[in-house]
């Protein structure tokens, strides 16, 4: 019996539309309306400026450890912008710009990184999951959300983010495999920022691309220039609409770079060279998009000041809030307050000497509502 070729040679495509200087490949122009281009730009700018501000707040001890996004604005904004409000976004822990675009108020993100429970609480109208720390765990959840959409017969699409390092985790492979087998409306967006803390991509995988991992699961995979917001947008738009149309999941690898620290507890000079960082700074997604919009005369005068003012006002609102209330730690451990927690809560309330009484409705064991809480039995 002969050996036969079962699959023709797999092809992995790379999509790039804007070059580093902001020149457009007009044959690939996704023809995004001007208002949408402006929305993308504003979101990227807000992401960048807030990131810078948050680093200062962290250094001053006003918020805790967080994962900055500098350099990844195009990957995040270009992807999330292709979702409808009714679609789901499932972040990892480094998608601040995408979260802002999805409607997380700035002060909520600050609250999150200052340790308040409210910070992780999406608004009732938001189909967004909170951030998650164990790498890649969110990906099976995304498939579950997509299965639920299929189950109910609604047309929601789920977009899940993860990093390059996350593609080594079992949960990544299990999730992409499930999505393929069940043909669910999911889009996996891998932010390949070249590093997983100090581990470079080549120590993470021997594959030439991350996109090609999709092919093993029988779903389309595409690599895009992740610093090119037009390419990310075009690729994700295609994937989201394919998912919505019932044609299954897609894996998109955004090739980008983390220009800053892994988290505010990291010093990248220990593991990578200044030359490497400088080379990627020349491919900065924001510089490139600015140049493009300037040529199209779509840059808005005074936008930076406006964005900074928005941030400053949010920081002010955030700082006006008192310290986190210790008794909130008993809330939402369970959907109701079980007897053993109720006892501990009373003990702590007593020890704090603030005379805090058990919250109203405690007798029927309901947890106290938080600001803007929705009932979750949707």
């Amino acid at each position: 019996m002969p050996r036969t070729v079962l699959e023709p040679r797999f092809q992995v495509e790379h999509l790039s539309i804007l070059d580093s200087d902001g020149n457009l490949d007009s044959s690939l122009d996704p023809e995004i309306p001007s208002a949408e281009l402006k929305r993308l730009y504003r979101a990227m700018l807000l992401g960048r400026r807030l990131d810078e501000r948050m680093i200062r707040l962290q250094r001053q001890g006003r918020i805790g450890t967080f994962a900055p996004i500098k350099g990844q604005e195009a990957s995040q904004v270009g992807a999330a912008a292709t979702l409808r409000r009714t679609d789901w976004m499932v972040p990892s822990f480094r998608e601040t710009a995408a979260m802002l675009l999805r409607g997380w108020p700035i002060e909520k993100l600050l609250l999150l990184f200052a340790g308040y429970l409210e910070g992780g609480q999406p608004d009732e109208s938001q189909n967004d999951l909170p951030i998650t720390i164990p790498v890649a765990t969110q990906l099976p959840h995304a498939v579950g959300l997509a299965y639920a959409a299929q189950y109910r017969g609604d047309d929601a699409v789920v977009m899940a983010f993860c990093g390059d390092g996350a593609t080594s985790e079992g949960d990544f492979h299990e999730a992409v495999n499930f999505a393929g087998v069940w043909h669910v409306p999911a889009v996996f967006v891998v932010q390949n920022n070249q590093w997983a803390i100090s581990v470079p991509l080549k120590k993470q995988t021997h594959s030439r691309t991350i996109a090609q991992k999709a092919l093993a699961y029988g779903i389309p995979g595409l690599q895009v220039d992740g610093n090119d917001v037009l390419a990310v947008y075009a690729a994700c738009h295609e994937a989201v609409e394919r998912a919505r149309g019932g044609d299954g999941p897609t894996l998109i690898e955004c090739v980008t770079y983390r220009l800053g620290v892994h988290t505010t507890a990291d010093d990248p000079t220990k593991y990578r060279t200044a030359e490497e960082v400088e080379a990627w700074e020349r491919k900065d997604p924001l510089t490139r998009f600015t140049a493009y919009l300037k040529k199209k005369r779509l840059l808005e005068e005074g936008l930076e000041d406006e964005v900074d003012k928005e941030i400053a006002a949010a920081v002010q609102r955030f700082e006006a809030l008192g310290a986190a209330e210790p008794l909130t730690m008993f809330e939402h451990v369970y959907a109701e307050l079980p007897a053993h927690l109720k006892a501990q809560r009373e003990q702590l309330a007593g020890a704090l000497g603030n005379g805090a009484t058990p919250p109203a409705g405690d007798d029927d064991q309901a947890s106290p509502p938080m600001r803007g809480q929705r009932t979750t039995r949707r």
Partner: protein
């Protein structure tokens, strides 16, 4: 009431809840065409179709995570673990996601999921297949943990677990699937989570035990009855939240306690119950709390070793005699 097996009672609970609520679906390995490795999902694929009885790839973390995601939208998945030993592959999903999502989302997303399947010592299934898995879960805030010992409890507690708004770990037993008992056929019959059952009333000593150990304690109690020792047996049924009130009420009556568990004793259920009792009812005790536990070693394959590892009726009898100061030792 109808007489049925533990397995049939679980099956009935699933069927009733699936009929009652379209949000309930079953997901796991071999749950469909094969009707479950232990046939708990018998007939369900035929009745409810592949949308609601979902066979998955072999990936415990994956399908548990999928269940969690679906539960966050308000569906009520019942995730079957072929055996609970394999839930270890999903431990991160269960501990870091299912248990904490409600908390981390400020109450926005609760996770009404049931993760069920058999656990505990079985018949010659050996080290990796015969473990008391509840210890890995009841320590985790946010999870509820159920171990139903009778067919009636299997039905009533599974229905409550499915209706509960929290993630519930529901560990059945390979050795109990065929036991028979009376089960209410009323589709509205449920047993609330967090309520212990007094299986046998007695005056002299309280034995706390569940699943196979509860039945072994029953045998011990019958033997001791002949010697005039009256044993009360309390079955916690739900390990988290634990019905300490019922246990304490029994202790205040008998003043002596033996806790029996199949797994290793160190930091086990027995340690916790002993601690709860001495914190709340120290002055009621007439003897130290005794624990009868499995040998802290992997489960052997050989039948005679397997038997020696797990608490026997004889060891339970001895412990009861000791706390009653009737072990012929006379030194107390």
């Amino acid at each position: 009431m109808a007489v049925m097996t533990y397995r049939e009672a679980l099956n009935l609970a699933l069927r009733e809840e699936m009929k009652r609520d379209d949000r309930v679906f079953v997901i796991g390995e071999e749950v469909g065409l094969y009707e479950g490795a232990y046939k708990v999902t018998q007939g369900l694929l035929k009745e409810f179709g592949p949308r609601r009885i979902v066979d998955t790839p072999i990936a415990e973390s994956g399908f548990t995570g999928v269940g969690i995601g679906a539960a966050m939208t308000g569906l009520r998945p019942v995730v079957e673990m072929m055996t609970f030993n394999f839930a270890l592959l999903a431990l991160d999903q269960i501990v870091n996601s299912a248990a904490k999502m409600n908390y981390m989302s400020g109450g926005q997303f609760n996770v009404p999921i049931v993760i069920r399947g058999p656990g505990g010592p079985a018949h010659q299934l050996a080290a990796q297949h015969s473990q008391s898995m509840e210890v890995y879960f009841y320590h985790v805030p946010g999870l509820k943990v159920v171990r139903p010992s009778t067919p009636m409890d299997a039905k009533g507690l599974l229905k409550s677990a499915i209706r509960d708004d929290n993630p519930v770990i529901f560990i059945e037993s390979e050795t109990l699937y065929n036991i028979k008992g009376e089960v209410p056929e009323d589709p509205d019959f449920v047993i609330p989570l967090g309520q212990a059952a007094v299986r046998r009333e007695g005056a002299d000593v309280t034995v706390v035990a569940y699943m196979g150990m509860m039945y072994r304690a029953m045998e011990a109690a019958e033997e001791l009855e002949k010697d005039g020792i009256s044993v009360e047996i309390v079955d916690p049924r739900t390990l988290m939240p634990m019905d300490t009130e019922t246990i304490l009420a029994s202790v205040r009556k008998t003043h002596r306690v033996v806790v029996v568990e199949a797994g290793a004793g160190f930091a086990g259920m027995g340690s916790e119950i002993a601690a709860e009792i001495q914190e709340a009812a120290f002055d009621d005790l007439d003897a130290p709390v005794e624990r009868v536990t499995g040998v802290p070693a992997p489960m052997p394959y050989a039948r005679n070793l397997e038997k020696a590892k797990t608490p026997s009726k004889e060891r339970i009898v001895e412990a009861i005699r000791r706390v009653c100061y009737q072990d012929g030792n006379g030194s107390h």
